[in-house]
């Protein structure tokens, strides 16, 4: 029985993969890969000539993710360094609890914040016509992935033996010199894993980006352009397709695409963590 519990995770993963693949598979045969991946034309509901190009959606996902990481990585790793090296015990415990609370906020609430708080804020600050855009989604994704980065990054820094710190200290290094010259090199694999898991979180996130990025299919030219992501497309359209139709199958293909991307990111993160342990 306990063994069943243990391997159930494997069964579920394969089950899900099988299901998604089965639904998407029939379309694979007549799929023009280069058009599917690179064409920015996503017109699935056309009666005469539907077009299934997810190029713009991929660009949307990547651009929001990259921008989110540009915001989240400095904050997340900075917070990890602060929590593990610079603050007192009481601050540390408080911060960790608060950061975990941040991780527990449901994504639809984040989306709500994006619509009602960030949206007017962006319009006011940058004088843009709309506030639900790439920047809005990226800020939300950044806030959502920071907690993961902090807790995993902090673990990585905690795993650096204290004797290294004492060695640096006894040689007259300041705290910053210890961070830059000893801790970051020593913990770099763990910190990389922290970043990648944050990336995985950001790529897979659906509800917040659905609500906050403006949901318009296009290749963005600035951070103030609205975009649409792969995940948001599935969430928004799947309910409106008829089961077994081409559109339906393409949406499942997008699912497979997402699955592969997050799988690759997690795998790399895992290898990075393992690299830490080997040493």
């Amino acid at each position: 029985m306990i063994r069943l519990c243990g391997i159930s995770a494997i069964i579920f993963v394969f089950g899900i993969f099988f299901f998604v693949f089965r639904e998407g598979a029939p379309f694979l045969a007549k799929l023009d890969w280069s058009q599917f991946l690179f064409s920015p034309d996503w017109i699935p509901t056309s009666q005469t000539q539907p077009k299934y190009g997810v190029g713009a959606l991929i660009v949307g996902t990547l651009s929001v993710t990259v921008l989110a990481m540009a915001i989240a990585v400095p904050f997340g790793l900075g917070a990890a360094v602060f929590v593990s090296e610079f603050c007192g015990k009481a601050t540390k415990e408080t911060l960790k609890i608060v950061i975990e609370l941040l991780a527990a906020i449901p994504s639809v609430v984040w989306g709500f914040i994006g619509l009602c708080v960030l949206n007017p804020l962006i319009i006011q600050t940058f004088h843009t016509p709309i506030g639900v855009n790439m920047l809005n989604g990226a800020v939300l994704l950044a806030l959502m992935s920071v907690p993961i980065m902090v807790s995993i990054g902090e673990d990585a820094l905690k795993a650096v033996p204290d004797s290294y710190r004492e060695a640096g200290l006894a040689l007259g290094a300041t705290r910053w010199q210890i961070v830059y010259r000893i801790l970051l090199p020593a913990a770099k694999n763990g910190l990389l894993a922290a970043v990648l898991l944050g990336v995985g979180r950001a790529i897979g996130e659906t509800m917040a980006v659905l609500m906050a990025t403006g949901h318009s299919v296009r290749i963005p030219h600035s951070v103030f352009d609205p975009v649409r992501t792969l995940t948001a497309t599935i969430a928004a359209e799947l309910g409106e397709t008829s089961k077994g139709s081409e559109h339906y199958q393409v949406l499942f293909l997008i699912g497979i695409l997402l699955f592969s991307i997050t799988f690759a990111v997690n795998l790399i993160a895992d290898l990075a963590v393992r690299g830490v342990r080997k040493k």
């Binding site: 033996p161 060695a167 006894a170 007259g172 010259r181 020593a186």
Partner: protein, 285 residues
Amino acid sequence: MSDAATKSITTRDLNLWYGKFQALKNINVDIRQGLITGLIGPSGCGKTTLLRCFNRVNERYGNVTTTGEIRVLDRNIYDADVSLVELRKSVGMVFQRPNPMPISVYENVVFGLRIHNRARDLLGTRRKKFYRFAKRLGATAGGGPAGTSRRIDLDEAVEKALTEVGLWKDLKDKLQVKANTLQLEQQQKLCIARLLPLKPEIILMDEPCSALDVEGTRAIEELMFAMKGRYTLVIVTHNMAQARRTSDECIFMLLGELIEHNRTADLFLQPQNPKTAEYIEGRYG
């Protein structure tokens, strides 16, 4: 005061608490320059704590309170104008477990130089950028790439330090090897070597041989003899035979108090205090 010059470290009424626990009680000690001074006593007697006062690394555990005076090289190290960085440059420390940093042998040895020469460092990179810029303009007017001379300085420092601890022959072709892959004995010697480019006057050793085998212990002890005179060495040890072999003077501590401080030969042959006598006879500890 005339013999203050021959004292490297003096403490007056030194008390230290970890939270509410008093670890050092009224320690008055004079450690003479150029000698090897051994600190002995049973576990928990405060000898490591005392050692860690001399370069103020105790303070990293936030709940430490210290009263009294510690003079190192004739300056009170708790004076407001004493720079911790300068103090730690002149008072090096070797730890119980060899703790080379997880970077190359070379970088371990020059670590101290690098962190204490930041201004020059910055200048170096700025100059390098300038040269790259000049090169792109096609105007490489003589002069090699900047930083070459500095590189040579560092190379020299590495060779000198490693030669001094007797590692140069073994490691000169392995300078880029990660330091924590060396044998323990080599690691510990490297930990001594990385202090030397900073030209310390005092080296504190906290049971430097307890992780090493007989051969390694002998090698470190021989190194200590070779360094004696040029450096003031203070060594904490659990191993009474080692204290007897290596030290010129010995300090016996018990429960945070200094019981006896004497020339090693006298302390072991004619202990003045019955507690010392009992400890060196092995009645407790």
